[in-house]
């Protein structure tokens, strides 16, 4: 059984009075195995953000199902969704989404506090994660005092601290300079090596080329996918950009 199964997912947005209907997702099908690092690529408007929102249980699908560990969370009640999300999913956002009123440490603790863990357990958990992400010495600082790269690493730490089944990352390098992007990507790779499943939405070829598999979405459907196989990052990069060129010039499905 796959860790994440997405079946016939469909999402239709309608305007307020039901006039215009926009089909953001037509029919999306894919699976993610445990320990995989999957990138989802697509142009803006292709539906990748909608897809991620549905996977994150922030939005609900019009039709189809999403199964995490065999459990269909579109059937959960609203009160259960938040708990489910907290216990099973970790998030990394483009804009970091750190709270400016909390220190870095408290930001990382936030999901654990919401899950009613005690402070001793939290402080034990944070140590190895902070060390691995290289943020041990900025834990006491506030978001406005640290760099973008450090903020994003703090956000990764916040995602990791609950031991989620899967990490969902939405354009994690979008707001970073190239050096910080590289650092973050190699960090993702490392984290993935320890067995952590990651699903990342991006339109950066560089970011996508770190993954073990790349899915392409176009017009609300999974259009194509590339497995890394034994390719190096550079080889995968080449394959991805070829695919994108083909997508943009309107090539047919292989």
């Amino acid at each position: 059984m796959s860790l994440l199964e997405v079946k016939n997912l469909k999402k239709v947005y309608s305007t307020r009075f039901g006039g215009n209907k926009v089909e953001a997702l037509k029919n999306v099908n894919f699976t993610v195995e445990e320990g995989e690092f999957v990138s989802i690529m697509g142009e803006s408007g292709s539906g990748k953000t909608t897809l991620l929102n549905i996977l994150a249980a922030l939005d609900s699908a019009t039709a189809g199902s999403v199964l995490l560990d065999g459990k269909d969370f579109s059937k959960l009640k609203e009160t259960e969704v938040a708990t489910f999300r907290r216990d099973n999913l970790g998030f990394v956002f483009q804009e970091f989404n750190l709270l400016d009123t909390f220190s870095i440490e408290d930001n990382i603790y936030l999901p654990l506090v919401l899950a009613d863990r005690n402070h001793k357990e939290m402080s034990e958990k944070i140590k190895p994660i902070a060390q691995r992400l290289g943020i041990s010495d900025i834990l006491k600082k506030y978001p406005y005092e640290v760099s973008g790269g450090q903020k994003q690493r703090a956000a990764v730490a916040r995602a990791l601290i609950t031991n989620p089944k899967i990490i969902l990352a939405d354009e994690p390098t979008g707001a970073l300079d190239s050096k910080s992007s590289d650092e973050l990507l190699s960090l993702f790779k490392e984290v993935n090596k320890t067995g952590q499943t990651i699903l990342m939405v991006t339109h950066s070829v560089k970011a996508a080329s770190v993954a073990s598999r790349v899915l392409f979405i176009k017009d609300g459907e999974v259009f194509h996918q590339i497995y890394r196989g034994d390719d190096t990052n550079e080889q995968l990069y080449q394959k991805i950009s070829d695919t994108l060129t083909m997508l943009q010039t309107g090539g047919e499905r292989k």
Binding site: L58, R86, N97, L99, D100, L110, V113, Y142, Y144
Partner: protein, 673 residues
């Protein structure tokens, strides 16, 4: 650019920001309306023709002054808040190519529109509601209703004049604010991260210390006169302490809570404690203002209502009998002459000849001596100055007269006395009055005699001696300067014959009074005769206390409205700040219910802290207020306590309504995706 461009831009800027501008416009209109109404009342003929109408006009003008000062501070504060909220918009204008001068013109036109609209509407509503206010005032002071309807031209002019100045100041301030701001900074103002507030423990402790000192002072002041001096200082100290505590103290408290890890890292506390620390730094001043406003309203309304509703008791304390005649002799010997009997005879003659029979007659002889209390000895002194904390007026009555008057059955030996105190305490068990050594046998609370003592403002002893004759040795005692300190008095009081109406009773009183004045057979001794009737005094009391109560109510309405506007702006401002924060927390795994709970606890704490603090201020101010009211002749503590509690409850209800209304605005902003 066409001439109408700037006015148009100004108008659309305000309509787009209606959430911000409507409360501001309403505040302006409300202030103008109130100013006109109270001002017009002070000039109204209805007031001028009332008993003590001139004093009432003075009280009303005092209210006008308060509204002018408070209104200008409040509107300037509110407006600068509005301008700050709109920095972004102005920044956008300047990026779109508007120079600072043009933005200034937009601001100018906005001020002009607000001024004209609010003056026009405010005056219109003021003129419209004037009659209601007048009828309300007449009802309160129990005056005669008139049905004339007049627009007071001088009040219209005063209102326009005052508010033109206020609006001009506001406009200049806005122009300066906009002129100083840099366009790009204008755009970014709300986005820059902010330092976490540093807890200033020293300042917090100073605040708590100041408050404790002021409280201690308020509670421990003994003499009502000292209160007059200390009250003002205490008020200033409490205001300073409130600001310090809300700004620094609350941040320090949050920091302390954060240090307690097992408390802080709990779902219920985690978010609220950390956001509150931030919030207090910026909004502490607003909360402190709300607290001060609340305290002002509560003290003002509870004391003026106490005077108004306690008026009957105060009046009765001052005039125990419906009609009183007293003969005052400059020495003790006057009592030994036949003057007292002559009064009795005159009264009896009149009562017989007019066939007017009082319901009850009470007479007594008494003496009064003034001096400085030194330990258990009263050292005679003839004059009084405000700084004399030890000054005492001592009223002395014989046992038989006292027992008869109060309907008691006390017994005393020669050197024994019964002691009562008013506006002070006395702990000793003996008292030496100018060399007379007296032993205190009993203490009594019932001294309805000596209405005079209520009218003068000094601490007072009531003393019952076996026989007034014991005072003979000190009968013409002088103080160190050789001035008389003891005088004696014969009191004749009666209650109205119930068969007659009030008007008829007053008529009888005047007949009797005239007889006294024209009667020449009580002129041989040197004395003063003082006639009074409670009904004639009542209308003066009514007008004065009713007028104070009326102004108290009007000002309370203004202050409550101002508090509501401050709270509303605070909620809106926090709503926009919290919106982003809560959407992040939602993404990280907070449920809608968690968020609601957290918002609730936060909003409740922030909201009701000022009310609780105001309640505390009120409780500690109570002893002071009570002493001040005693100076006004109020003697019934329970009336004041009950009225203060009622005032607090009513204010609490208003406050809760404001909370409900503004919290709604907050939720709307936060939950609006």
């Amino acid at each position: 650019m066409s001439k109408v461009f700037f006015p148009k831009l100004a108008k659309s800027g305000m309509t787009k920001n209606y959430k911000l501008y409507i409360p501001y416009l309403l505040s302006c209109i409300g202030m103008i309306m109130m100013l006109y109404i109270i001002c017009a009342l002070s000039y109204s003929e209805t007031v001028a023709t009332m008993a003590a109408g001139r004093d009432l006009a003075v009280i009303l003008r005092l209210g006008v002054g308060v509204i002018c000062i408070f209104g200008s501070i409040f509107l300037i504060y509110t407006n600068s808040f509005l301008i700050k909220r709109r920095y972004r918009e102005f920044g956008l204008y300047s990026i779109l190519g508007m120079d600072r001068k043009s933005i200034g013109r937009v601001v100018f036109w906005e001020s002009v529109i607000v001024s004209f609209v609010s003056l026009f509407v405010g005056l219109f509503l003021g003129i419209l509601f004037f009659k209601f206010a007048e009828l309300f005032l007449i009802k309160i002071v129990e005056g005669a209703v008139t049905f004339s309807f007049k627009i007071s031209a001088e009040s219209v002019l005063i209102t326009i004049g005052v508010f033109s100045v206020i609006f001009l100041i506001i406009m200049l301030k806005s122009l300066i604010m906009v002129g100083k701001a840099r366009p790009l900074e204008l755009l970014r103002t709300t986005e820059t991260g902010e330092k976490p507030p540093k807890a200033n423990f020293v300042l917090a402790i100073i605040g708590a210390g100041t408050l404790a000192f002021a409280y201690y002072n308020a509670v421990t002041i003994e003499s009502p006169l000292a209160v007059l001096y200390w009250f003002f200082l205490d008020v200033v100290l409490v205001i300073i302490a409130t600001y310090i505590l809300f700004i620094a103290g609350s941040v320090a408290l949050c920091k302390l809570l954060k240090k307690n890890k097992n408390y802080y890292y709990k779902k219920q506390h985690f978010v609220s404690v950390s956001t509150m620390a931030y919030r207090m730094k910026r909004n502490g001043a607003g909360l402190a203002s709300i607290c001060i406003l609340a305290t002002m309203v509560l003290v003002m309304i509870s004391s003026s209502a106490s005077l108004y509703f306690g008026e009957n008791y105060a009046l009765r304390a001052r005039y125990p009998m419906d009609v009183e005649f007293s003969l005052r002799f400059p020495t003790f010997d006057g009592l030994l002459t036949d003057a007292p009997e002559k009064i009795d005879n005159i009264m009896e003659d009149i009562i017989k000849s007019e066939n007017y029979k009082p319901a009850e007659v009470k007479t007594y002889k008494s003496a009064m001596i003034t001096g400085l209390l030194d330990g258990d000895t009263l050292v005679p002194i003839n004059y009084f100055s405000d700084s004399m904390d030890d000054f005492r007026a001592v009223y002395i009555i014989g046992l038989d007269d006292y027992n008869a008057y109060q309907d008691e059955k006390y017994e005393l030996k020669d050197n024994e006395i019964i002691l009562g105190t008013f506006r002070c305490n006395y702990k000793g068990d003996s008292l030496n009055i100018a060399g007379l050594d007296l032993k205190i046998k009993e203490r009594s609370k019932s001294f309805d005699v000596f209405g005079d003592s209520v009218a003068i403002i000094v601490p007072t002893f009531y003393v019952v001696v076996k026989d007034l004759a014991v005072l003979k040795p000190i009968g013409d005692i002088k103080d160190a300067d050789g001035a008389n300190v003891l005088y004696s008095e014969y009191y004749y009081g009666y209650n109205y014959d119930e068969r007659f109406s009030k008007e008829e009773s007053i008529e009888f009183f005047h007949k009797i009074k005239d007889k006294f004045v024209h009667n020449d057979y009580i002129t041989e001794n040197e004395y003063i005769i003082r006639p009074s009737t409670i009904e004639e005094e009542r209308s003066d009391f009514n007008t004065l206390y009713g007028g104070l109560f009326f102004v108290g109510i009007m000002l309370s309405i203004v202050f409550i409205f101002a508090a509501a506007v401050i709270i509303y702006y605070k909620q809106i401002c926090e709503g926009y700040e919290d919106k982003a924060r809560f959407s992040i927390m939602k993404k990280v795994g907070m449920t809608g219910r968690n968020i609601k709970k957290s918002i609730n606890s936060q909003v409740l704490t922030v909201f009701f802290a000022p009310l609780l603090m105001a309640g505390m201020h009120l409780a500690f101010a109570f002893p002071v207020v009570w002493k001040l009211l005693q100076l006004f002749g109020l003697t019934t503590l329970w009336v004041v306590v009950v009225i203060t509690l009622i005032a607090f409850v009513i204010y609490g209800i208003f406050y809760a309504i404001i909370y409900k209304g503004t919290a709604g605005a907050y939720y709307n902003i936060v939950s609006n995706e």
